[in-house]
Symmetry: C2
Subunit: 654 residues, 2 copies
Amino acid sequence: MHPKRWLPLLLAMPLATACVDAATPPSAQASTAGVQGQSLQELMQARGLTEADVNAALKTYTPSGKKDEYFIFASGGHGGNLIVIGVPSMRILKYVAVFTPEPWQGYGYGDQTNDLLKTGSRDGRALTWGDMHHPALSETAGDYDGQYIFVNDKANPRVAVVSLEDFTTVQMVASELIESEHGSTFVTPNTDYVIETAQYPAPLGGGYADLSEYDTKYRGAAIFWKFDRKKGRIVPEDSWAVEFPPYMQDLADAGKLASDGWAFFNSINTERATGGNLEGKPPLESGASQNDMDYLHVFDWKKAEEVVKAGKTKTIAGMRVIALQTAIDEGLLYFVPEPKSPHGIDVTPDGKEMVVGGKLDTHATVYSFEKMQQLIADQKFDGRDPYGVPILPFRDAIRGQAEIGLGPLHTQFDGRGNAYTSVFIESKVAKWSLKDLKVIEKMPVHYNIGHILAAEGDTVSPDGNYVVAMNKWAIDRFADVGPLLPQNFQLIDDRGPSMQLLYDLPIPLGEPHYSQMIKADKIKSIDVYKPAGINALTHQIDPFAVKGGEERIERKADGVHVYMTAVRSHFTPDTVRVKEGETVHLHITNIEQAKDATHGFTVGSHNIHVSLEPGKHVNVTFVADKPGVYPMYCTEFCSALHLEMAGYFLVEPK
Amino acid sequence: MHPKRWLPLLLAMPLATACVDAATPPSAQASTAGVQGQSLQELMQARGLTEADVNAALKTYTPSGKKDEYFIFASGGHGGNLIVIGVPSMRILKYVAVFTPEPWQGYGYGDQTNDLLKTGSRDGRALTWGDMHHPALSETAGDYDGQYIFVNDKANPRVAVVSLEDFTTVQMVASELIESEHGSTFVTPNTDYVIETAQYPAPLGGGYADLSEYDTKYRGAAIFWKFDRKKGRIVPEDSWAVEFPPYMQDLADAGKLASDGWAFFNSINTERATGGNLEGKPPLESGASQNDMDYLHVFDWKKAEEVVKAGKTKTIAGMRVIALQTAIDEGLLYFVPEPKSPHGIDVTPDGKEMVVGGKLDTHATVYSFEKMQQLIADQKFDGRDPYGVPILPFRDAIRGQAEIGLGPLHTQFDGRGNAYTSVFIESKVAKWSLKDLKVIEKMPVHYNIGHILAAEGDTVSPDGNYVVAMNKWAIDRFADVGPLLPQNFQLIDDRGPSMQLLYDLPIPLGEPHYSQMIKADKIKSIDVYKPAGINALTHQIDPFAVKGGEERIERKADGVHVYMTAVRSHFTPDTVRVKEGETVHLHITNIEQAKDATHGFTVGSHNIHVSLEPGKHVNVTFVADKPGVYPMYCTEFCSALHLEMAGYFLVEPK
């Protein structure tokens, strides 16, 4: 619709005088009521808005300067970054670079972040992307505490730690124990551990074994990365893992409250199909979909900790690993059947039950922790799997099943006794009662919903209020931008008697898988780095920090050291002269302390770029390998004389 | 405000019955009027919305499935990508990767895009970022035609071509004539040329010269990249450049209609300051701000084309360059004084006038093309600059000056005779009349506005309707996300008697400088690549495209060729066996033709990732250098059995 169709504007009339008479046709009402120039009716008509749309608009619109109530932290999928979204406005507030270099943040274009990215190498190969799936906010007593967020890389098994003090990646750990992962990251209720679970089995610790040896030499595993809250870092040497059979372990969740100390992993492909569709075998999708049941893995991590402490581990790829047989012998691992090719496993807020969605099933199956514990205590098993893991009898382990629909995947909770399950094949959100396992309402979403998200909906105290459908396909929802379409996050109001669709948010970069939604006021981020000279990786003063007045250029054995400051609107020094072949160490401090007074720095044609938030210090090392005259300048529009915040980097020929 | 404060929801009542009586206090009205559960008044009160907010909400809210009227194409600044935003919803629809590798799009993680990025190398150095400033949509007769968009890299002078058929980067050109740029990209009215102008002077063609030789050996230049519309590519061998004095040429604009055939460049630092603040000289910001006037460069590119054809050029860095003296001798280049440290130069829709904003001035100065032409015809000069360029007398060249305020930067137009100028220091948008050069209204924006944008506002036929303030600082506008803040795009409705602020959009990644806004229906993008097997770079069938049923693995002299297809939910072949050290050539075609049926592909721990939109073909070459078992899988959640769309890449030891 062309906007001129709803011109001319009327002068504003106070809203309080608005009175729309049901008996008067809309066209006659046009000039009798006004909201800042146009009547509500006029605006609705002009823009094709229904009453529900008006309601949704007013529930989401967030005026200039008003702040959002919640943050969503969404994985960026194979974009390799973390996405921060405000709720209810559904505005993306930040992309935080994690696995993929990103120059606006100077992430991967200067010494500190280059070194950080190197710690995420695997097999000695530098990796410049990741496939992020499941972010996990740090928890205290099962509730988000707003301090850290952990993220995973499915393609190149790694876990990263992002500090919410400054929304910056501060650590990356990569274990070569496993070759892919998926059930990651999930934290235990006090963030003692960050769990990373393998997906596609492979020989543990790497190395070659043919697929014909799949049953004997390929294995799954879950890594329990120990987190030191005081340091704010994962401690690899205090971490350990447990070996699993070569099923494809899928999603995971940590027990809490009633089930604290346990962790749950579901699995697909207990058929142990390996594909081979050009070798006369069925493709994996059908080979892995033969069995009616797969196995929920029920694991006692508290007891496992003791087993590790007792030294009953073998070390593989530098990681202490509890062998599968040890896990069985020590009574750490039990299986329960779960229907069919399950995807999500979600522990209820009270920790008493585990909800599993079977993607080729129609149910959400509700397991009782108490019943499972009793079965374990009674050693009441329904046989063992081929690797000897005891199997708890399905019917005795569950409270019941909710009939959800085709392709139930993931479940979140609202704290009012309701569960919300994403139903992929039907493209619906199902709201159901945990009490009687009955569906209350099903709402269509657009389209192909994967994960679902509720406000603090996977903690011990869900908020309710908002649900988000994380739809994988958008198809016809947005103006066309070529063959690669955005994902579609649909915000749903769940405060009313029925769910109401509020907003469609296209995700313009990346493919989010899972998200968490936290109250915004739980996060206490900093505005500036104080005092000036902070290394954003260590959150400490950098040894090379530069103070105003102490700028200098020094030649040392390892090259030219340039101690530089940035302040509106110049770098000091703004002329740097080096000789061809010299190694250059730039040490740059933004000595400003005003919020938003960010500078950037580049030397042309040298693939260098750093972001200098107020008080931040960065180091950049490179070799001046070609004579020439290279402009260096501030890349952030910092001031009226921003374009003049520049200088020359001169490389004199040898 | 906690959302529970506005519970409980009431049942929906038809809007047509809504009647809010001014005499009744809001609390008493709560249950008497309803918009889908709550009265307008209740919602406003609960969320702190004013009448203006309600109006703005209804003007911007775009319900699920309704499409935006306009696209904004915004540069991503030092993020190195292009941002696509829908108007009026102000939702970011896509980030298009250009200078920076981006794995979600598979850009820079497979053969075709790796090769493309290599064409943007400078001095033999691979570059993995860019500093994008000014996107330019292709034009026909001075109006956007929706076919291509051109973007620049200020840090590492390059121009890229993005096809709007599929929103994909298809070409990159890098000239080593210049060492930085800024007045780029701007197109001539029929996109004959894409203009790229140097910013920080340097010896043309590279090489070393000390700053003491700045006046004699450093130079500016403008490159006119020839665009072949039929091929959809820039033709470097048909391109040429013109040498400028060593001022810092800043923004540029091409003449149109009345001034077609001419181009305009402004400049700063006619003082020729070079900085040197650690060497006892003033920093550039003050050295470059001494003169009251700098020089607007007025250039006859049509005539220059003839000069180039006549061979009156020298070749530098492979580029035909019109020497400064030739430009003077042939009557191609004239200067006009412009006050003071100007930033924006914007040609009016009729092409008759050029508006310059002086960032240390308070005016928008309006130059008359006709007057300048007469002065040139009459050879009426006010002397010459130190390099011999004739200077047109300032007062005789202008029609007048509009008194705008402190720090006017850029100007756009609405087609109704109004101009909109961004006022940086005041943080305001000034609307003024082109007719009488009087300010009509000034509106505060938040904060530090750089460029300004109006719907098709730099074409021969601006639409009016919307203006966007591209604010560099956000400070307190959004929920805090650490020291690095988003930029703030403020959407303004300019259809009424006064400008109305509609929406604040945080830019979560990158620092946009300039944008253009085009009617969405002008862009005819494709949904899928047809027929299957298309190389997105050439938009032709790839020589290695694979058809269903023709999948195979072949060993050739140059390594193992794997001809693979992707279709929900398997790759064929899904098992690939190679020997350690073999070179592997993957050729993968997504043979699907359903919209949004995108797959992704990775081999774990090999830093490989490609995006396979429907019908797209990609090639990936790498060396299998380490024995092992590497899962390969689909990285896009494509179907219910997406996790099973996987296989193994097996590297057998030698």
